[in-house]
């Protein structure tokens, strides 16, 4: 059966090739897409790209997007509108005979597509596309692209694109055997100016045929780049630390409020974060089904909802359980632990035990290059977000009456009560505020972590460490605590590894608490002692 099918396919292929024998290289190459072999597809891409046929770009782009279909030995392009056109002729094709299948891709084919599109789109009117094309040529180092590259450089006026084109040319020249040494030396120069990891890779891996003076120049340039990269590496690690610190800050800041105000050890805090993440999931599900256009704003929509969901669960908890346990912090700890188990299992029952998919809006993907550092947009967003939450909370606590009450209750519960502040109401609101903040932390964490019932568990110990380290009852302490732990963690990681670094940090915190049992920014005075 299978043998027969293979035979038939070969026969059809032969037939196709025979019929195309009279045509040009483009028409000759097309049938190779039908053979369902990656090697043939790869070769076909090269041939189509080199053919100069006006349909070449269409074919290759369609291939990339899975819109290049084959059936009964012929190749078709499906337009975005759904119309079919015959790739060989460019004519519309209404009713295909038999089943059409997309041409299959693998990484090898994708690389070929990228390289082909690179040299084909170097002159595209869209600057972004030209930039992409230049990068693709840089990666492929395809000598055949050199003439196109020279032409493009001559025309290019946009500086970033021109730079990219020049580096691409330098990369090709360096690896090209017959390029004159002077050109190669200029190439070394260009790459040294680019001064990043990729340039370093090129300079330190010269082909064996490189002339000695080029090798010497490249060696020197490579040393320079290494020094620069090492310098930036320190900043990069600090950045990782800040972004980890922001995650910790988000997770811990709600806890700082509940722990600081009510001395309530809320072990279910992590589950509030989880509720926030699941709210995000629900919001995205709704948006996907009803308002797909709003997807980019899904996280912004999720923020207030997550605050409300987690916050109201928090108020509910406070009113039904925690309020009966004030003054008994250890009992609160046990009860909230029980609540966390119930919430976890509840979510597991409703949403299932597996991870839920939360998408990343387009504006949060990609990276920003600063010097030799690469800052990913989602991390930037989280850092900015964490600091904004911190600032807003600080303002709320400083300038609203709720904040005033909360601070009063934090400092002296009894006195605040005797001054007519309804402490029980302040407690409920503060607990709701803390939980709500945990909920919006969940929105952010859904972008970098699993959305599963276990989400909160991963953060609870870390958040307690942050709060205890920073000192209770002081938001600044939490900020400093989170950043210190985040940065220390990331500076340790390259040397000690992820696990040992974390263990070392935990031990450091244990020792630290013993030195300063009330944390970095402890409240002093008699009130605390009572």
């Amino acid at each position: 059966m299978i043998v027969l099918r293979k035979f038939l396919r070969a026969f059809l292929l032969l037939l196709g090739m025979a019929s195309a024998a009279l045509a040009g290289p483009y028409e000759e190459a097309l049938p190779r897409f039908t053979s369902d072999s990656y090697a043939d597809t790869d070769a076909a891409i090269g041939a189509v790209a080199a053919s100069g046929n006006p349909l070449a770009v269409d074919v290759i782009e369609a291939l990339r997007d899975g819109r290049l279909l084959v059936g009964s030995g012929q190749v078709f392009i499906r337009r975005a509108s759904g119309d079919l056109i015959n790739a060989a002729t460019g004519q519309a094709w209404g009713n295909p005979a038999g089943e059409l299948k997309p041409v299959r891709l693998n990484n090898r084919v994708r690389r070929a597509i990228e390289a082909a599109l690179g040299s084909l789109t170097l002159l595209n009117p869209d600057a972004a596309k030209r930039l992409e094309a230049a990068r693709a040529v840089f990666r492929s180092r395809d000598e055949a692209a050199l003439p196109a590259l020279e032409k493009a450089i001559a025309q290019e006026s946009h500086v970033p694109v021109r730079n990219a084109l020049e580096t691409a040319r330098a990369a090709i020249l360096l690896s090209k055997q017959d390029a004159p040494p002077t050109q190669k030396l200029t190439a070394v120069q260009t790459l040294r100016d680019r001064s990043d990891q990729e340039a370093l890779a090129l300079l330190s891996n010269l082909p064996a045929h490189a002339p000695p003076e080029v090798v010497a120049a490249a060696g020197k340039a490579a040393d320079g780049i290494r020094a620069r990269l090492a310098f930036w590496q320190a900043f990069q690690n600090v950045w990782y630390g800040i972004s980890l610190g922001s995650v910790l800050l988000l997770a811990a800041i709600g806890l700082a409020i509940t722990f600081g105000t009510m001395s309530v050890i809320n072990m279910a805090h992590g589950e509030m974060v989880m509720l926030g993440a699941y709210t995000t999931f629900m919001v995205q599900e709704l948006i996907r089904s009803y308002f797909p256009g709003l997807f980019g704003a899904s996280l912004l929509i999720a923020l207030p909802l997550a605050f409300l969901v987690a916050g109201s669960v928090g108020v509910l908890l406070e009113r039904t359980v925690i309020r009966f346990l004030y003054g008994r912090p250890l009992e609160t700890l046990l009860a909230t632990w029980g609540i966390s188990l119930i919430l976890q299992q509840g979510v597991r029952t409703i949403f299932g035990p597996t991870n839920r998919e939360v998408g990343t809006p387009a504006w949060m993907s990609g990276a920003l290059d600063v010097g030799a550092m690469s800052l990913t947009y989602n991390r930037i967003a989280i850092v900015v977000f964490a600091f904004s939450v911190f600032a807003i909370l600080l303002l709320v606590l400083r300038y609203t009456s709720l904040g005033l009450y909360v601070r009063a209750v934090t400092q002296n519960r009894r006195m605040a009560g005797s001054m007519g502040i309804r402490t029980s109401r302040v407690d409920a609101l503060a607990f709701g505020l803390g939980s709500g903040v945990a909920g919006i932390a969940g929105v952010a964490l859904s972008q970098i972590d699993n959305v599963s019932p276990n989400l909160g568990q991963g953060y609870i110990i870390d958040s307690f460490m942050v709060v205890v380290f920073g000192g209770v009852g002081n938001l600044w302490g939490t900020l400093v605590g989170a950043m210190t732990l985040g940065i220390a963690n990331k500076l340790l990681e390259p040397y000690a590894g992820a696990v040992l670094g974390k263990i070392a940090l935990l031990i450091a915190i244990i020792v630290f608490i013993q030195r300063r049992p009330r944390g970095l920014f402890a409240l002093k005075g008699r009130v605390v002692e009572a």
């Binding site: 250890l330 046990l334 009860a335 119930i342 299992q345 110990i461 460490m465 935990l506 915190i509």
Partner: protein, 378 residues
């Protein structure tokens, strides 16, 4: 006067029940024919043995929490360390019977290309040394950790949180394969203990009886400790720590002493647990496990010793039943139990029962030194 405490009615009852278990379980398993309704099937013996070990762990937590107000949320760490010490002995007993037939190295070291035994494995082939380590390793950790913590007066929730951090750090450390303790797989595939095959039914019965006897011994030890003036100081620390200090007691020394003793008890519990369940791995260090132990104590009745044993047995039997019958509801039940007990039964089953009893017959109010607990000390 102290002997009067030691053998009060509660103690006599606990000891009688334990003695009955030590006699009945082997009898029902070995003497009663399998067809009979009274026969105890083979697989229940190690199960009951496991409960008994966990009861000993609960007892050790009650000693510090119930009587000294120290809430350790990392007691599972001491339990696991004791278990590892025993596990290392059992690993060494495998000898050349491992898959790679290496006379010295355990299998996991062979396939990770270890060439020689790490230094800390030496001596564990000798049982008395291993037994000593079962006590010393948890004891030493408790001593060092406690010395730092109590000296600088880390109390209450702060102490609880850093004990969590301690067991979490240990869990991460033991998960590392580079530790040389088997990583995630831990220590398993034991062959024999003191020359008796671990898997044999008779060995299991003996281990069960031994566990019961150790539990009884542990109970008596705790009773004696809390009945002594030392125990009164502990309760004093629990209820009014700074008052105790102004009376001239070195509170930190008391806490350290009882914390270390309790850690050793937990270590012994772990050591008895491992040969009966056949495996020790880092998940025993999981912070959640240690928190669960606390709830056993709370359910049974904090500060009553007997309550800790009762709570451990009840909750674990419940867990066995739930995970078989209604697996999805186990966490709801456990979580609900935490909330219910803290809200409505702060003194646990024994405490509540004691209240009932006291209300119905005030005359029984004779002096009783280690009092059940009514309110949290902070």
């Amino acid at each position: 006067m102290r002997t009067q405490y030691l053998f009060d009615r509660q103690t006599v009852l606990v000891l009688s029940i334990l003695a009955a278990a030590a006699i009945l379980v082997p009898a029902m398993n070995g003497l009663v024919p399998p067809g009979s309704a009274l026969h105890l099937s083979d697989h229940l013996v190690p199960l009951l043995g496991k409960y008994v070990c966990l009861a000993l762990l609960a007892l050790s937590v009650d000693l510090i929490w119930g009587f000294c107000g120290i809430l350790s949320l990392g007691h599972g760490a001491f339990f696991a360390l004791g278990g590892y010490a025993m596990g290392m002995y059992l690993m060494r007993q495998i000898g050349p019977r491992g898959a790679y037939a290496d006379p010295i190295l355990p299998d996991f070291m062979v396939f990770l290309n270890w060439k020689e035994l790490p230094w800390f494995w030496h001596g564990f082939d000798w049982f008395p040394f291993a037994a000593l380590m079962v006590l010393l390793v948890p004891g030493a950790l408790a001593l060092v950790f406690g010395w730092f913590a109590f000296r600088s007066r880390v109390t209450g929730v702060y102490f609880s949180i850093i004990t969590q951090a301690m067991t979490f750090a240990l869990m991460l450390a033991f998960f590392r394969n580079d530790m040389g303790l088997g990583g995630n797989n831990g220590l398993t595939d034991f062959k024999e203990v003191l020359g008796f095959p671990v898997q044999a039914g008779s060995t299991r019965v003996v281990l069960f009886v031994l566990s019961v006897l150790v539990l009884a011994g542990g109970y008596l030890l705790c009773r004696w400790v809390v009945g002594s003036t030392f125990g009164k100081v502990l309760v004093a620390v629990r209820d009014a720590e700074s008052r105790t200090r102004f009376l001239g007691y070195r509170v930190e020394h008391y806490k350290l002493a009882v914390f270390t003793l309790s850690a050793m008890l937990a270590g012994v519990a772990g050591a008895l647990y491992v040969p009966q369940v056949g495996i020790i791995n880092p998940s025993e260090f999981a912070p959640a496990n240690s928190i669960e132990v606390v709830i056993w104590v709370a359910v049974g009745g904090r500060g009553t010793l007997a309550g800790a044993i009762l709570g451990a047995l009840l909750v674990n039997a419940g867990k066995t039943w739930f995970t078989a019958a209604l697996p999805e509801f186990w966490l709801f039940a456990l979580g609900g139990l935490f909330v219910f007990v803290t809200l409505f039964m702060p003194r646990g089953i024994l405490g509540a029962a004691g209240d009932l009893w006291e209300r119905s017959s005030r005359r029984l109010r004779t002096r009783r030194s280690p009092q059940p607990f009514t309110q949290a000390a902070e």
